[in-house]
């Protein structure tokens, strides 16, 4: 009976997009690792095979299970992250993995789903009002706990993903100034790196003066504007200081490449340069499957993991890139649409988290590959090589599809 209901009620559009992305991902991994002797595409095939039982388990678990045990799942996930500091395996300077024999697993890939469940559970209480400062603090604490454990691994890429939870909280009533603050912070950060800090402070002063005279009478508070300017100035100067004095050279370089300040194509600029060449040489329809010279020449490092989109760009061209981007965007919008029609707040919040997390990965990854975002290690969901990532994203998505399929029963 249950099987019947899931089969009938599951959102086949999402499942179809999911399957398309996984298959396209594997084809590109196959192409980029054809010449490698490490058995990359064979292993990925095994990982994909493993998702089938995984999906069945996720779908057959009782729909109430996730809500009921969200806190426990979250707790276990936090423990698994904390345990890395004791039992973790260090690969390339990052302590992100548990090693069982030759098999490694990355708990941070699963923590995202756990955090989403915990946040959804917390917000599902109808008593919770995010206008209340205490509630804001508690909700943000749920988000920041895993971040605190992930940052020191160090895995800034995974930690960055959690910033999207602000948008989810905003949907559930978090005051808008959180979003504005976040937005302005990012803007100031980028401006400070591009311009001189004093120029940025002058611009801020100009904007504040305009707001003061053009804005509504309520906003004409000299004291508030003054404090705001002081905070902005302090932030701008500290960004400048941190960038010049606390960042390591390789951190600075990652930003400088984007800002066009460093041109060292053999050193730090190599990855971005080569991935741009690979994508840029694709043209309208690409060089064809298995025909990418950049891909075959092995010029793009980490091509089967973080840089998998370069293979899409080179071998499938603009057409292929557009198809992949549309598939992803379609999935995100579909999940948001499904989330909005959920009957429980729990599943709505969770759905939002799913869309947000997948979207952030998608954007940060492709933006990095095409050279508009600093080099930061974030996988492309369903595409990039790696078992933990694939399974983490699959679980994340299918828990939501299960909730969505269950909604009928809730009537």
């Amino acid at each position: 009976m249950k099987n019947q209901s899931v089969k009938n009620n599951i959102d086949w559009i999402s499942v179809f997009i999911y399957i398309s992305l996984v298959i396209l991902g594997w084809l590109n991994i196959y192409s980029s690792s054809l010449l490698s002797t490490e058995g990359t595409y064979q292993k990925q095939l095994i990982f994909i095979g493993c998702t089938i039982p995984l999906i069945f388990v996720v779908l057959f678990v009782d729909g109430k299970f996730y809500e009921k045990y969200a806190s426990i799942i979250f707790g276990v996930s936090l423990l698994s992250l904390a345990g890395l500091f004791l039992f973790g395996k260090t690969i390339a300077g990052q302590r992100c993995w548990y090693a069982i024999g030759s098999f490694t697993i990355q708990p941070s890939e699963f923590a995202k789903a756990a955090t989403s469940l915990a946040l959804a559970k917390y917000l599902s209480d109808t008593q919770i009002n995010l206008k209340d400062v205490n509630r804001q603090v508690q909700a943000l604490a749920i988000v920041f706990l895993p971040v605190l454990l992930i940052l020191p691994q160090p895995d800034p890429g995974s930690a960055l993903i959690y910033s999207i939870f602000i948008v989810v909280l905003y949907r559930e009533g978090l005051p808008s100034w959180y979003v504005w603050t976040g937005f302005i912070t990012i803007l100031l950060f980028v401006l400070t790196l591009v311009l001189e800090p004093y120029a940025v402070i002058l611009i801020a002063l100009g904007v504040l003066i305009i707001i003061h005279f053009k804005g509504r009478a309520v906003d004409r508070n000299i004291l508030l504007s003054g404090i705001l300017l002081a905070i902005i100035s302090a932030f701008v100067l500290s960004v400048d200081y941190v960038f010049d004095n606390i960042f390591k050279q390789h951190h600075r370089d990652r930003f400088n490449i984007l800002l066009g300040k460093t041109v060292d194509m053999k050193g730090i600029g190599y990855n971005t340069n080569q991935s741009e060449i690979a994508i840029g040489s694709g043209g309208w329809i690409g060089k064809g499957f298995l025909e990418g010279t950049q891909t075959k020449g092995g010029f793009v490092p980490e091509q089967h993991t973080d840089y998998i989109f370069t293979t899409v760009g080179e071998e499938w061209g603009f057409a292929g890139s557009l198809v992949v981007i549309i598939l992803f965007v379609g999935l995100f919008l579909r999940v948001i649409y499904l989330a909005e029609r959920q009957k429980t707040k729990f599943s709505r919040v969770y759905g939002y988290c799913v869309a947000g997390i997948l979207f952030t990965h998608f954007f940060v990854n492709i933006a990095m590959v095409i050279g508009i975002f600093p080099t930061i290690g974030v996988p492309l969901p369903f595409f990039s090589y790696g078992g933990s990532g694939l399974w983490g994203f699959t679980i994340l998505l299918f828990i939501f599809l299960k909730m969505d399929a269950n909604k009928v029963n809730e009537w």
Binding site: L35, V167, V168, Y170, R171, G173, V179, K266, Q274, E276, I277, A278, I279, G280, S281, G282, G283, W284, L290, E291, G292, T293, Q294, T295, K296, G297, G298, F299, G313, E314, G317, F318, S321, L322, I325, F328, V329, F332, L333, I336, E340, Y352, A355, G356, F359, F363, I366, A367, I370, G371, I372
Partner: protein, 649 residues
Amino acid sequence: MRKVLLPSLIIIAASLLVMRVFYLQIVDDSFKLKSENNAIKKQYDYPERGYIYDRNGKLLVANQASYDIMVIPREIKENLNINEFCTLLNITKEDYDKRIAKAKVYSPRLPSVFLSQLNKNEFAAFQEKIRKYEGFYFQKRSLRDYEVDYGANIFGFITQVTEGLIAKNPYYNSGDLIGQQGVEQSYEEILRGIKGVKYIQKDKYNREIGSYKEGKYDTIAVAGEDINLTIDAELQKYGEELMINKRGGIVAIEPKTGEILALVTAPSYDPGILVGRQRSKNYTLLYHDSIAKPLYDRGLLAEYPPGSPFKILTGLVALQEGVINEQTTFMCHHGFSYGRGRFMKCHGFGPHQLHNGIYNSCNTYFAQAYMLTINKYNNPGKAVDVWSDHVKSFGLGQFMGYDLPIGKKGNVPTSKTYKKIYPNGGWRSTTIVSNAIGQGEVLMTPIQLANMMATVANQGYYYTPHIIKKIEGKKIDAKFTTKHETTIDKKYFPPVISGLFDVYNMGTAHALRVEGIDICGKTGTAENYAKIDGVRTKLKDHSIFVAFAPKDNPKIAIAIMIENGGFGATVAGPIASLMIEKYLRKKITRNDLEIRVLNKSLASEYAKLGGMTEASAIESTPKDSVMKAKIVKPKAEIKNIPVDTTKEN
């Protein structure tokens, strides 16, 4: 409203990505080319380097085959038998690991040199098995093969280009060879030729599948051209033999053409040691020898106060300015007083005219002549500038423009120099009188001294000294066939030359005569000081000698500088006589001189310098000379040669 934020973000972000991808793939088409470049391999064909001959066509530098073992790190197979591999190449396992690591740092997918410059024998055993070792291949190179064991400073050497040069000059790639120092550097472009390049298309499996676009862009290598130097191999060899156990430089020039006949620096080294696998070890040894400095070409770089040979110019300028004539007489009382209680010592005594002034090297005579020159004008500044221009017309105080890559300007003071030293003015002819005898601010290199003698021999003109005689099928630079006239009228030269001739007949070089050859010459001595244990100590003088011969129709002008050699006629003088006889007669009659010079070792003198660098050890700065003039401590030459020479024996 709150529902709209995430979908809007998604749509905006996705549009941004699509726009950027569109820009990369459709708008900017430079990436296609770059990707083709990645997939195209360039294979270079290095032409043989041109040979180097001497002025008589004797082969000095040829080529030999050598082999570089190249590696592409990521193509090395895991089952490589490293032990066997290392045994064949005669390297250790650690060495192997180090070299592979270095290659990986450069690039795991691009070839880099694993082991360079193997000779035929070293390579033979390896060649049979190289097919077994995937990721390794060899590149044939041509290396220098030196036919002679002298002339290292003239030839320079071949080395791998530096990263800095690759960035500056697009012709060179990593691992390319380039000439450094000597003619290998100054005639690099002629000797090296132009390397050919083949573009090879690679398929998606990184295999080579033939030439790119039917070889449309391929170029054929152009062989390097042979050159003839102006060097006389026999003279060069003889000069280097004479300089054994001494430090210093010899420059010999053919006055009529400006051709450099010999350019000796001592100590030197066998050019052959900078070839092959021992190259870098040997180079390091030479480079770090900061005491003897075998890589420092003293003939071109050593700047010293010229001492007495400079009196030739003092006399010529005074004649040209009309302040003296041949009959002008100055009395010498073992020196003379000038200014307020100052005294310049001299070994001479009695009346001196220009003629005996030169052959006795009388300080008094030339000091007086110089002061008259400076006092001719009301303003000493103007006078010094007039004098300075005369002197500079002999090639002093400037890079002369010869075709070797190194040099020093020397120094000729002008009014500006003294304005700096005496900002409040008040300097007069007496203040700077030590210039008269080459002890003031004047500094000269041996090649400038030789050129000065060539100019005197030519009675008023010189050609820029040069070392290139002939380039296969090309003319040499026109600047080497352009006459430089001095500001001294021709008529003033014969009396000076006659004085220089009597230096050998009656003067300071009396004992150095070569029967049947009329030599004109002049001894000289340069004071020098060293800091030994922090104390400024006067060391034995540098020995200087300049000469040309024969007196009529001169064939060779020569300058010799021997560090710490003492009085000019003791070491430098005999070498000048021997070199001149060797060049003009091709044999030696003054065997006594030859034996004396060959046996002469200054090692004990140099030992005093200890572990110091020559640069800190030798300081004969212009300022000191000015001070010396003030404190009345003029330069005196040793009086009498026969005594001195026997003493040396």
